[in-house]
């Protein structure tokens, strides 16, 4: 320990490696300086690798904070590593801007004498209840032995995977190859949902690809409507580098006041403090006001919104064999033209201003003002409006919120032009570019009458006792899903609660034990991660496999403007840890599957390239171009440094070029060159006609569920989300000394009224609990009519049971939240707020309503932080200076 008042400087000969931040969607560019321990640079520009005289000037991006230095091993030898945002970056985080998450990347690295020393270093087998180190050969042998048995005896419907969707193109391609090409199982689900499929189906139906925008667009807009997220908190540099500097007026629609909101209000913007789950009504009311006033962008609508012929007669909305089919044949939502939509909207009672104001909790005046800011011409000039949305919007009322927001954006003329975009802000980065084979949807057990099969709801499948083997990679599964304690209970019953346990480290004996377990209706679990995760790894898994991750192999990934960079390896992974693609390949070979002969991550990158064709993350032209140049594609990308390339990549006149914005007609450039693919959505919307579609969004579809889950008596809404200083389950943050000081525990923001009524003060430990957590069971196949499409039907048919959940957090009493609603971190280990979330997915899209939990509060004691100056603070986050 030191006073933290000095850092070593990289000498001028230090090795410089480029990478990007491992955390949020923005993926700021970083430089890693490494050099052997025992030498240091000096304070003159000529003496250090940063090329600057110290002290480094403000905004130089060339200062190293103590959190940005660590010691790692390279080739077994100790090396200093300094990791700072790239001061030379010309894109994303220009000049070295960064968040607190990325700014502490150095503390994430494995260090044998530091807080990351508990990284998984060797495969583990649970023998006699204890996780015991074994060789890769033993672990993979047991895994393959039981997998073969499950596939042979119980079929591929009993063998499943639950994995991250974003830890690099190479690893996710390997996952897709194993699950969809080799095993051919539909029992697959990404980390944040019960099954594959569209996350923002309402946008997709409109023809809007949800990462169509470029960050520059947010600096070109006059006004930005931000729904269900504060980019300052969760996409920090998108806000501080692009939104703040661009000068747009910001309109926030969120239940909670944040720093971004405070900034918006101080700079001519607006805060719509919406009640959780009611955004659809705001969208309807604003759209209606705009149409009533004639403020819509009619020129854009005439050109870019599909007319009746294009929908009904000519191209069709997709009545056969399209992803739209099962939703839009649903009668109630399809609008066959702008006029048809307008007629519906102007006559629709829930689009009336006063009714929307009453239910949403946002004043009629504020809704009107928002509509004006978005669309009312000023001095004859239309404002350039953009729309940025995220999970508060689409994980509260998934289909209706996204479809109604798409409508609002389109009538304002947004979607395909500079400064006029509709896009997700994003959460994690985009790390899945290609599928080795299509998801085998025809195998899925989910089928509603008259409609295509739906992707599986894997959680419900597990609850039904159908899954016998689960390969879990890089996710907590239980805590990340809804009604998480109920789910964890099921896992516990199927694994540790089963009489058949491994009693010996002998591989064949272990296989036999697990065979008996799965044959008796139990389940075997393999968990692969960088740390031992509770409970999936520490308690439930039979085999735990150590993964090598960021900085420990060469990987590729894209950010929220589809910008792909190489995340370079710069140090040794801990112990025997291996990258996920390697582990998958070793397992697959033992299973007898072919095509897993990759020697390095570049090989996987190359193989996956052709499967990315036609997607928004198409990088195939880069690989083809590299081959022409006789280069390794990873090396070509490495040369592009922190700039990388915005996907889809294209070749124009022999040059490799990126794509700034999707749907933009200026992208239409004639005949596609070489391996370039000109998908229609490059220069038009992603529909049959290339024109956007409007959808009716009747509130009644959601109203029965909303009524059922609205807090009553002393219940409050329990909403949750990300906060600036914490990434995901805080797996790194709890090992970063500084971030652990800021958040040694999770928090819950409680309004002073609610706190006072319950005797709660800031710093108290509060339990949030509910004995009314709804869980959908069964209901995989509907028989007739509109079976299973409403909550009432699910209830009537006996598909809803009532469970329990609870979590605890340290209270922060603040008027940042609405009375009657609290806010907490979404994924704190050991205290999952998702335990309070109803496991009843949106019937249209099978997406959970994560943000719409409810519960009761009670004080259970005082945290050590209440009366200490040492760690945690209860000061208000959204503060602004008095008017200056």
């Amino acid at each position: 320990m030191t006073a933290n008042d000095q850092v070593p400087l990289p000498p001028s000969g230090a090795r410089v490696t480029t990478t990007a931040c491992d955390y949020c969607i923005v993926a700021c560019g970083y430089k890693v300086f490494t050099w052997p321990v025992g030498t240091e640079g000096g304070g003159l520009a000529s003496q250090n690798a940063l090329g600057v005289d110290f002290p480094a000037p403000a905004l130089s991006g060339r200062w190293i904070s103590p959190s940005q230095h660590t010691v790692v091993r390279i080739g077994g030898q100790p090396h200093h590593a300094v990791i700072i945002a790239d001061p030379d970056a010309t894109v994303v985080n220009r000049g070295g801007n960064h968040s607190i998450r990325g700014g502490t990347l150095a503390q994430k690295c494995y260090r044998e004498d530091g807080p990351t020393r508990d990284r998984l270093k060797t495969p583990l087998l649970r023998v006699g209840g204890k996780l015991t180190p074994v060789s890769w050969d033993t672990a993979l042998g047991v895994m393959a032995g039981v997998s073969k048995h499950v596939l042979h005896e119980h079929g591929e419907m009993a063998w499943g995977m639950k994995t991250y969707s974003y830890q690099y193109f190479e690893n996710t391609y390997a996952i897709s190859k194993l699950a969809f090409e080799s095993v051919k199982t539909p029992c697959y689900s990404e980390h944040d949902k019960p099954g594959p499929g569209n996350d923002t189906a309402g946008m997709d139906d409109a023809g809007l690809i949800t990462f169509s925008a470029s960050y520059e667009d947010y600096s070109l807009a006059d006004v930005i409507y931000i729904s269900g997220t504060d980019p300052w908190e969760t996409k920090t540099v998108l806000f501080t580098e692009w939104m703040m500097k661009g000068g747009a007026k910001l309109i926030f629609a969120m239940p909670r006041r944040t720093t971004g909101v405070a900034w918006a209000e101080r700079n001519g913007g607006l805060f719509l403090q919406v009640k959780p789950g009611t955004d659809t009504l705001l969208h309807l009311a604003m759209t209606r006001l705009i149409l009533e006033q004639g403020w819509q962008d009619q020129e854009f609508i005439d050109r870019w919104v599909a007319n009746t012929w294009e929908i009904d007669t000519g191209f069709g909305r997709g009545v056969r064999n399209t992803p739209w089919q099962w939703r839009t044949t649903w009668g109630r939502s399809g609008a066959v033209s702008f006029e048809d939509y307008k007629k519906w909207l102007l006559g629709y009672k829930y689009a009336e201003l006063d009714r929307a104001a009453e239910i949403s909790g946002v004043s009629a005046g504020a809704i009107r003002r928002a509509a004006e800011l978005l669309s009312k011409p000023v001095s004859g000039k239309r404002p350039k409006a953009s729309f940025c949305f995220e999970k508060g919007c689409y994980w509260s009322n998934n289909y209706l919120n996204t479809a109604s927001l798409a409508n609002l954006g389109l009538v304002c003329g947004a979607g395909n032009r500079p400064g006029q975009v509709v896009s997700r802000g994003g959460g994690h980065q985009r790390g899945w570019a290609s599928n080795a084979a299509a998801y085998p949807i025809t195998q899925s057990p989910e089928k509603l009458p008259g409609r295509r099969r739906k992707e599986i709801d894997l959680d419900r499948w597990v609850e039904a006792g159908q899954l016998r083997f689960a390969y879990v990679i890089g996710t907590t599964w239980a805590q990340a899903m809804a009604a998480s304690q109920e789910l964890a209970g099921t896992f516990r019953r199927l694994t540790r609660g089963n009489p058949h346990q491994i009693a010996s480290a002998d591989a064949s004996a272990a296989v036999e034990a697990l065979k008996r377990r799965v044959d008796s209706g139990g389940m075997a679990i393999v968990h692969q991660d960088i740390y031992l995760v509770d409970p999936i790894g520490s308690e439930l898994a039979d085999i735990v496999l150590p993964a090598a991750a960021w900085g420990e192999d060469d990987f590729t990934r894209a950010n929220g403007e589809r910008r792909m960079r190489l995340y370079s390896k710069f140090y040794d992974p801990p112990g025997a840890a291996k990258p996920d693609w390697w582990i998958i390949a070793q397992f697959a070979r033992r299973m007898g599957f072919e095509g897993y002969d990759w020697e390095d991550s570049n090989d996987v990158f190359v193989e996956g390239a052709r499967f990315s064709r036609g997607g928004m993350l198409n990088y195939h032209p880069l690989v083809a171009h590299a081959k022409q140049l006789g280069r390794r594609p990873h090396e070509l990308l490495r040369e592009m440094g922190t700039t990388g390339i915005q996907l889809p990549a294209r070749l124009i006149k022999g040059e490799l070029v990126g794509t700034k914005r999707l749907h933009d007609p200026s992208n239409e450039i004639g005949t596609p060159e070489g391996p370039t693919v000109h998908s229609q959505w490059l220069y038009a919307f992603n529909t049959h006609s290339g024109k956007a579609l409007l959808h009716k969004t009747p509130w009644e579809i959601f109203a029965d569920f909303y009524e059922r889950i609205t807090p009553k008596g002393d219940e409050v809404w329990v909403s949750n989300g990300r906060i600036n200083e914490i990434w995901q389950s805080s797996f790194d943050d709890q090992r970063k000394p500084y971030l652990k000081r800021r958040f040694p525990d999770t928090f819950v923001e409680i309004h002073p009224q609610d706190a006072k009524a319950r005797g709660i003060e800031s710093g108290d430990v509060v339990e949030i609990w509910s004995d009314d957590v709804l869980v959908q069971t069964g209901g995989f196949v509907g028989m007739e009519g509109e079976d299973l499409l409403s909550f009432q039907q699910l209830e009537q048919k006996g598909h809803i049971r009532v469970g329990k959940g609870s979590c605890r957090a340290v209270a922060v009493v603040t008027d940042a939240v609405r009375p009657g609603g609290v806010f907490t971190n979404f994924l704190w280990p050991g205290s999952p707020v998702n335990s309070l979330v109803h496991r009843v997915p949106d019937p249209i899209t099978s997406r959970y309503r994560f943000k719409l939990a409810k519960g009761r509060l009670r004080k259970v004691g005082e945290s050590p932080y209440k009366r200490s100056f040492e760690a945690m603070t209860f000061a208000p986050r959204p503060v602004m200076p008095r008017a200056t």
Binding site: M1, T2, A3, N4, D5, Q6, V7, P8, L9, G42, G43, L44, A45, Q47, N48, D53, F54, P55, A56, P57, A58, L59, S60, G61, W63, S65, P66, S67, G96, N97, H98, S99, I100, G103, W232, E233, T236, T240, M244, T259, W263, N724, E725, Y738, R741, R742, S868, F869, E870, A871, M872, T873, F874, A875, P876, R877, P878, V879, M880, P881
Partner: protein
């Protein structure tokens, strides 16, 4: 005597100190600093090496506690007369970590945001019982002055560097720092020990 500090720095980073090492050694502040650190929560483990480190800082008289007005920061430079060493001392009116004076509410901090060096001068905020520095005018980071300058919300990867204070009667002295001042690679000349 300035040469003692000048010769010890490795490169461009050698702004003149306001006190010389000799002045510092004569002040005998090391023992007092150690005692004060024992009351600093969270730093107990680091006490000894930290105390040694802090003992290397100059001791600078800042003025008199009784002259400080509630919630009115007063600026000074520490440990050097360098632009980055712009600091402020303030009487918060509420007890604070490492606070001195009869109410333990007098604290001092460096005024440069530890994110990208934004100047927090004049960005002192009272919010109910809370005392904050920020939001930084550049990217809106905010720091809690009662909790050793801990980040409340924002992007800085360490707390606002706290200037450690001591009192002698009514007089208040700056005697050390917790945390690296923005822009520097070391608050003290790098080879201070060797150079002396």
């Amino acid at each position: 005597m300035a040469s003692e500090t000048d010769t010890s720095a490795g490169g461009g980073e050698k702004p003149p100190t306001c006190l010389t090492r000799r002045d510092f050694l004569l002040s005998g502040s090391g023992a007092a600093t150690t005692i004060m650190l024992a009351s600093l929560p969270g730093f107990a483990r680091a006490q000894e090496p930290l105390a040694l480190r802090v003992a290397a800082y100059p001791r600078k008289r800042l003025g008199r506690i009784s002259r400080l007005q509630l919630n009115q920061p007063v600026e000074f430079h520490y440990p050097y007369e360098h632009a980055h060493c712009r600091s402020f001392i303030v009487k918060l009116g509420v007890p604070a970590g490492a606070g001195v004076g009869p109410e333990q509410d007098v604290v001092a901090f460096n005024a440069l945001c530890t994110h990208q060096g934004g100047l927090l001068s004049g960005m002192y905020l009272q919010e109910g019982a809370f005392r904050l520095a920020g939001p930084c005018p550049i990217h809106l980071s905010t720091f809690d002055l009662t909790r050793h300058g801990l980040i409340v919300a924002g992007h800085a990867t360490q707390s606002l560097p706290q200037v450690l204070l001591e009192t002698d009667g009514d007089a208040v002295y700056a005697t050390g720092m917790m945390g690296l001042v923005y822009g520097f690679s070391s608050n003290l000349p790098r080879d201070w020990k060797e150079g002396g």
